[in-house]
Symmetry: C2
Subunit: 636 residues, 2 copies
């Protein structure tokens, strides 16, 4: 196999593709060099199973390998530009495979007029909401050409970054894409919130760093925990500026130099890179080519990206600017793809390759959306609250009072993303399986709730919405989260209208009880009980769980939401106090409780939203009839 970054000549309409000699000799079928100008036809399949045919010729003075006929079609169909890369692989059976990896290019900003479109934002939320509420499939799209996916992070990466404490002075390496010295090193000079007001305690870009080399404006001075690798021992610092390197780095950016007010730094390129190595996550991709056997591809696959963006660096409330890109893509249901994915023996070195969501590779990887989700939620909250003069103090005041037994991704009282009883889903299930579940995500500064009561979570926080689905059968029981009462930006994710418990608790003598996984709640009159023992008995009776609750070894846990919307363990408080503050009781499995805790970092992971407006971006692909021009679908 070989990979070559395309040159201007390679991608111009003027000529063909210069095949590096070694690559051609290793990878292509041998030519008959006795001929004057030996040539042959190469047939290579891409990830979608589409065959591409090239004329492979060996000619010129000095002799070199070229791909001529067919190449320009490939270039235009795939919408490749200089800087993108192609990859040829030869399977054991001699079959030639072909992949592409697009360069990460900062985009020109789009005008505000198509940005900040609050309409497209709840649209995406609604996708998510509907998917959750109906337990149906949804999509995560990743447009590597458009964004660095700073808000979609491999789950393990995030967890690891949290597990490895970083202190000021820590030396680290950080990988950069498209750089002939792909690793840069630096030292952590400080740890602080990027925006302590808008995003207190956000982990996002909370590290202030000094780079060992002067790498100019292209590198941000703040990075996120998960972007760096502090575990390696680093050589002594050599402060040498490397102009040549810099120049190369800069010129390798094919578009205009990053406009800080828009692109806000180039970090996060490697979000998926690591997972590529560790988890077969693929990066830098083509999207699925939509290939309909019935109707062809020409009018079907329309690139559709939305780009949203907020002005950068507003002075107080919103300042950092980032992009997150989503796209929307059709899902071919029963298409007859015959691409890479069909054979598990296909090398898993597809790093930076196309992905095909319709078939499964064998590997899996987890992404965490926790931070992202939290960000999402908190953003909405913060955005809404920002104008309120008492917001900051209020938030900080109330923070210490919060006890959150499940970790910190969602904090009662902070996070609008609330789920009242989705407890049966383990934290580890907080992964996305792109085989069947993909999610369109968006982040948008302008989306905001319109009623104050909406961003104050009404229900106790218990578990994140679980985003798990069976890859084989999206509709089966794997997705049984009973996710009710979820809200995002004031939109009910479940379509319910959860009303504040204020009305209920005062009116009702009974306390509602929800069991994990059950849509139907029961009610229990605590005043008729004499203590926790009675409670347990009654709960066992109501839910036909005789003997299961009293014995903690049976794996059940009783939690409750108190009047402050905190989720607490039942039994700690004196009984009568408990009765006074309880607003709802939950029955969870032990696993669920534990798993809700896993991977959550300290308090509020709210972060970056404000700083990082979401960019919902259109695909740049210009060709209508090409199968691969849509935003990339991340496959895990």
């Amino acid at each position: 196999m070989f990979c070559k970054t395309l040159t201007a000549s390679d991608t111009s309409t003027h000529g063909g593709f210069s095949v590096p000699r070694r690559a051609a000799e290793d990878c292509f079928p041998p030519l008959d060099y006795k001929q004057q100008r030996p040539s042959q036809e190469l047939v290579a399949k891409d990830l979608h199973g589409v065959e591409w045919r090239f004329r492979h010729i060996y000619r010129g003075q000095p002799r070199r390998h070229l791909l001529t006929t067919g190449w320009s079609i490939f270039i235009s169909q795939k919408n490749l530009v200089s800087g993108d890369a192609v990859l040829f692989l030869r399977g054991e059976n001699g079959e030639l495979r072909l992949g592409i990896r697009r360069a990460v290019r900062p985009r020109n900003g789009l005008p505000d007029s198509i940005v900040g479109n609050q309409n497209s934002y709840p649209s995406v939320l609604s996708l998510l909401a509907n998917a959750i509420s109906t337990k149906s499939m949804f999509h995560v799209f990743y447009s590597p050409r458009a964004s660095h996916a700073e808000f979609v992070i491999p789950y393990q990466k995030y967890v690891r970054s949290i597990a490895n404490p970083v202190t000021t002075g820590t030396r680290f390496k950080m990988r950069f894409d498209r750089d002939d010295s792909p690793e840069r090193s630096g030292v952590v000079t400080g740890i602080s919130d990027l925006d302590p007001y808008g995003w207190p305690n956000s982990k996002w870009r909370c590290l202030m760093v000094r780079w060992d080399e002067d790498i100019g404006n292209d590198h941000q001075e703040r990075v996120s925990l998960w972007e760096i690798d502090p575990s390696v021992s680093l050589p002594p610092l050599s402060i040498q500026s490397s102009p040549r390197l810099m120049k190369k780095l800069r010129t390798s950016l094919q578009t205009t130099p990053p406009n800080n007010s828009i692109t806000a730094g180039g970090g996060g390129f490697m979000d998926f890179e690591e997972s590529v190595k560790s988890s077969k996550v693929l990066q830098g991709q083509e999207n699925i080519g939509f290939i309909s056997p019935l109707y062809g591809c020409d009018t079907v696959n329309r690139p559709q990206d939305f780009e949203m963006q907020a002005p950068a660096h507003p002075s107080l409330a919103l300042n950092a600017t980032q992009k997150a890109t989503i796209g929307e893509l059709m899902r071919a249901r029963h298409s007859t793809y015959t691409g890479f994915a069909e054979s598990d023996r296909f090398p898993k070195v597809l790093q930076g390759q196309e992905i095909c969501p319709l078939r499964s590779l064998t590997g899996k990887a987890n992404f965490t959306l926790g931070d992202w989700e939290s960000n999402l939620g908190c953003t909405s909250y913060n955005i809404y609250q920002a104008p309120k003069p008492n917001f900051f103090s209020l938030a900080s005041e109330s923070l210490p009072n919060i006890y959150f037994p499940y970790g910190d991704i969602r904090r009662a009282g902070q996070d609008p993303v609330m789920c009242s009883n989705a407890t049966n889903l383990p934290r580890e299930n907080m992964k996305i399986n792109p085989y069947s579940m993909q999610m369109g995500v968006a982040r948008n500064e302008v989306g905001r709730p319109n009623k104050p009561s909406e961003h104050k979570p009404q229900e106790s926080s218990s578990a994140p919405p679980t985003l798990v689905q069976n890859p084989r059968n999206p509709n089966d029981e794997d997705f049984n989260g009973t996710v009710t009462g979820c809200k995002l930006f004031g939109f009910s994710l479940t379509g319910e209208n959860p009303t504040p418990n204020s009305q209920s608790s005062s009116k009702r003598s009974c306390t509602k009880v929800h069991k994990q996984g059950s849509l139907v709640g029961r009610a229990i009159d605590l005043s008729k009980l004499n203590g926790y023992g009675d409670l347990l008995s009654e709960l066992e009776r109501l839910f036909s769980m005789e003997g299961l609750l009293r014995d903690s070894d049976k794996g059940w846990r009783i939690l409750y939401t108190d009047s402050e919307n905190d989720v607490m363990v039942v039994g700690d408080d004196p009984w009568h106090e408990f009765c006074n503050v309880v607003s709802k009781i939950h029955i969870y499995t032990q696993e669920e409780v534990e798993k809700m805790t896993i991977g959550m970092i300290s308090d509020d992971t709210q972060s970056c939203l404000e700083q990082a407006p979401v960019m919902l971006e259109m695909s740049k692909s210009s060709s209508v009839s090409q199968p691969d021009s849509s935003p990339t679908v991340i496959r895990v």
Copy 2:
């Protein structure tokens, strides 16, 4: 002014545009006919103010007027094809104006493989929801090339059709587009629901008709009230088949003949035609060309159409098939359009012309979305319920009991589009003013609520959501419709928590009861009951379930939705508290309750997905950089 339908030669890449002699002499500046081949440059502005330049030459043997240079650019930029029409107008000041009218062409169906995307559907709903909740602008897009807009009907037209009762035997005319006898006549042979189970009392295609001429498969045998014109006195019926006419009709369809399984008939072409005449509604349009002074048009204006579609005529549950097309388009906020619209003195004969949503013409027209919405709602419900064996009988049984004070567009107990307290808005306000308010609409067979409580409207139907906005200032007080609590498929359209019972309980003495599988709810006055025993008796009586509810072994369960939208078991709470908090009562089978526990996807919803795949279609426009290839924005 003149208008010419483009010929194949006009639109081919081979040549230019043949200008009809009379038209050129009347409309174009005079040429110097003394020259051998007189020519001049014509400059014409389109509705967006974009100037188009053509070389106008008078040559050939015999002499004729031609537009050569510049014409092919225009054709390709506007994505015009043979059958579309161009219109030239000369203003008083001699300024030349240019418009286009696209032909209504049935589209090729799209493969199922890109269908079944339930995600795109709530996306659109969410656009609407957010726009309403934030009182911001939203869009109605109409892609005349893609759909017949059967669900976007001029309001007056709808009202008129309702006002003029049609009986069996009524003779009528109906207009068809692209037909050299544009009017066809027929007789109403029956009036009945197209789908009495899924859409009882729907006006949509409720008329069975027999056409006077045998017009083959191309014409549906069912039409909607508003499609016909019964007011004209018709000549005696002459049953003559007109093969030549038919042939012409058929060949005038530029694409493949309508596939019944996909396009489901060709009616509704004239939805806008009438309003063109009566209300200055414009049809067949270009969309707004997005012209950003900052960034140009090339990457900004992305054609985006969505097309959703369900298979036609499935035997039982879902049979009506139509398309609704939506598109999404960016809105240029403060662009400096200098098109037609800038001068009110511009002739209002823009019938079939481009439209520019940023400026206002003087005319207005109203659209009703009522029937469409009703279909939407009922569809969803129907899908959910369809698989249940007891559905049909139940529905028909209880239908006569329904009292619906507002006519037929929204039926209580049927329509998820509910507004809890928008009662101050008269029915007549159900209009859309596209100057400032445009709405992306979609109709989707597969959208369905996920919880029983959600498809059963919680509130009495009072008034439709009012979709009125001030054309001049979208943000001012004209949009004060107090539109709260609107729900669409369980999504709150307002983003608020309408706290249903608080309002409704004061208004209604009865509590609604829905039985699983039944489209139609009952209401029960709890204040007249003395306890749970009474309740059970009354429920058994209402639903003819004597003995079934009291005995839990019969497999029925009584649940209720409380004021917090939690679903609870009836009987746990003290009776009087129950009465205070209950918002709706549900009768479910034990199995169904268990399903709720396992997961929220019930089997039936899955099967519905399979039955009615949704089609999400991208725009057909092939040029990325053209400003006018997006879906048409309807301007009224």
